[in-house]
């Protein structure tokens, strides 16, 4: 955990994402699957993705202001952005994250 948390300070180019899910619910599984796919397809290596199960770390829900599940938080680059849902529409996700393609 702590090791992962330190990843906050990464290089400028990298997108820092944290996905909060609640256990092994169908929505959680779907979200994880979709995010992995989007990242692999579109972001190649320019991202850091951390997946946190709120059941295992309930204190993080309050610390990180998580209400909805699943929630994908883009920590870096700013502005901070939160996407909620199962991320089925990859275009919407890309747009929501504010990623511009060259």
């Amino acid at each position: 955990m702590n090791k992962k948390k330190r990843l906050l300070a990464t290089t400028e180019d990298k997108l820092v994402l944290v996905l909060y899910v609640s256990g092994m619910s169908p929505k959680s599984m779907e979200a994880i699957e979709n995010i992995n796919r989007i990242c692999a397809d579109q972001l190649e290596n320019s991202f850091e993705l951390e997946i946190i199960d709120l059941y295992k770390h309930p204190e993080l829900a309050a610390e990180q202001q998580i209400v909805f599940s699943p929630s994908l938080v883009k920590r870096f680059p700013l502005p901070k952005k939160t996407l909620v849902g199962t991320f089925a529409d990859s275009e919407k996700v890309i747009k929501g994250l504010g990623i511009l393609f060259k």
């Binding site: 909060y20 619910s25 709120l54 059941y55 829900a61 909620v84 849902g85």
Partner: protein
């Protein structure tokens, strides 16, 4: 009817800690179930929630969780500090947890299906951390602001309320008043156990707060609108005490504090717990009689609460001193409490609430309201009558000797005067004072119109006022 007997076991109650509310609900909020408190902005929802938690901690040893969707912990703590609620200290002692849920709507985007599991986990964690028995969600409807999928949120809230029940916590959920529904999102459909509506309205430029129990499943409750007050000790609700006439009566006879006046009654005074009404136009020495009444109670070492709506305490003391009635020593010894305020400062209900509060604080044996007619000016007739009945009832139940003065207009007959009409039938004894001029001399008279359960003089007694107070003329034994 057989069901009614077992309701208490099926639906146990949790004392709310809000003065008066527990009386209306017959014991408090439904234990282990959610209660919805709704009302427009500024009606006291948040405060009611906080007081529920704070009293739960300080009086019933039940830790509580406050989930705030609007105010930060700091703001909340600052807002209730003036009520003597030290939230920071309770948080430090792990008896209270405040979770401020801050959602920046501009940062959030919906991409498919989601749920409120994050909130559930947060809440569960907070409850378990301190072993909370009470939970307040203030105001959960703010979740809806800016979100597209309201159907989904609605079903999630329904799940949340069920979850709270399963968790066994007694919860308060607040909701903002909607246009045609009790709450904007129709939460009342989901929280079906107990719904309380708060209202804040202005009638004749006087603001009054009212509370009504819209529903309370499986419980008897008062259905009226009850005025409530927010003051330095938090929220208190004015319940209408039972309007049954089953109070006990005493046959002990007490003195009016004036030998001449006592003599006009067969029993040489009045029965303990009686109410006396004195009517008269301006300057007929109603207040003076009230002062005699107060002093006699003080001499019996029985505390007096004197509501003076026209004179300040100092003015009253000075004026009575001029006719040889000394109030000061009894104020010093604490037997006499004079409470002065302008009647138009607040609504009639507020006055009654204040009277109610002061009575429960000081536990007086004698209450004087001088004049009761000034209270009448601040409400409409039907309200006034209901309020006076409540007041009389409160005094009777507590066996308090009551003394009211009422100002009447010299020309009009008593029965056209509303106050007299409203009070006279409730009062046990009615003394009428007059002040008229014949042949260049003003003469004062005192007569007894009625006295329940006691014979009395039928004469119109002339009297004069001198340095030593009231002196009845026709009465040889008068002072």
């Amino acid at each position: 009817m057989t069901m009614k007997l077992s309701l208490k076991e099926i639906f146990p109650k949790t004392p709310s800690g809000i003065e008066g509310l527990d009386e209306i609900t017959g014991g408090g909020l439904p234990k282990g179930r959610p209660t919805l408190i709704c009302g427009s902005a500024g009606c006291g929802k948040t405060l009611m929630g906080i007081q529920f938690l704070v009293k739960g901690i300080t009086e019933y040893h039940e830790p509580g969780v406050f989930v705030s969707f609007e105010e930060t912990v700091k703001d909340l703590a600052a807002n209730v500090q003036s009520l003597g609620f030290d939230l920071e200290k309770m948080i430090g002692e792990k008896k209270l947890r405040i979770d401020h849920i801050h959602i920046e709507k501009t940062e959030i985007q919906e991409t498919g299906e989601y749920d409120l599991e994050g909130l559930f986990i947060r809440l569960n964690y907070a409850i378990d951390q301190i072993g909370a028995k009470r939970v307040v969600l203030d105001t959960i409807e703010s979740l809806f602001g800016g979100m597209e999928n309201t159907t989904l949120l609605r079903s999630e809230l329904k799940r949340l309320f069920q979850w709270l029940k399963d968790k066994g916590v007694t919860a308060i959920i607040t909701g903002e008043r909607g246009e045609s529904t009790l709450t904007r999102q129709g939460l009342e459909e989901y929280v079906s156990d107990c719904v309380i509506l708060l209202d804040f309205r202005v009638i004749d430029q006087i603001a009054t707060r009212r509370l009504r129990i819209v529903k309370y499943r499986g419980s008897m409750h008062g259905t009226n609108e009850y005025p409530f007050l927010i003051d330095e000790s938090g929220i208190s609700v004015l319940p209408i005490t039972s309007l049954k006439l089953n109070h006990s009566t005493s046959s002990e006879i007490l003195s009016y504090g004036h030998a001449g006046l006592d003599k006009l009654f067969k029993g040489n005074g009045f029965f303990r717990g009686n109410s006396t009404l004195v009517t008269g136009s301006a300057g007929t020495s109603k207040t003076m009689l009230a002062t005699y009444f107060a002093l006699s109670s003080c001499e019996r070492k029985e505390p007096v609460l004197f509501f003076s709506f026209e004179e300040s305490p100092d003015q009253l003391i000075r004026n009575m001193q001029s006719v040889g009635l000394k109030l000061k020593p009894f104020i010093k010894s604490g037997l006499l409490n004079i409470h002065s305020s302008r009647p138009s400062l607040s609504g009639l209900e507020m006055h009654l609430l204040v009277i109610h509060k002061l009575i429960s604080e000081h536990k007086p044996k004698t209450v004087i309201i001088d004049p009761i007619s000034s209270l009448v000016t601040v409400g409409n007739n039907s309200e006034v009558r209901a309020m006076l009945v409540r007041l009389m009832d409160l005094l009777k139940v507590n066996q308090i000797n009551a003394f009211f003065t009422a100002l009447t207009h010299p020309q009009s007959a008593d029965y056209f005067d509303f106050t007299v009409d409203a009070v006279s039938s409730l009062a046990d004894t009615w003394i009428r004072l007059t002040n008229h001029s014949d042949a260049g001399i003003r003469s004062r008279t005192l007569s007894i119109v009625k006295s329940r359960g006691m014979g009395h003089s039928n004469e119109i007694n002339e009297f004069v006022i001198g340095d030593k107070g009231i002196k009845l003329k026709n009465n040889s034994s008068a002072k």
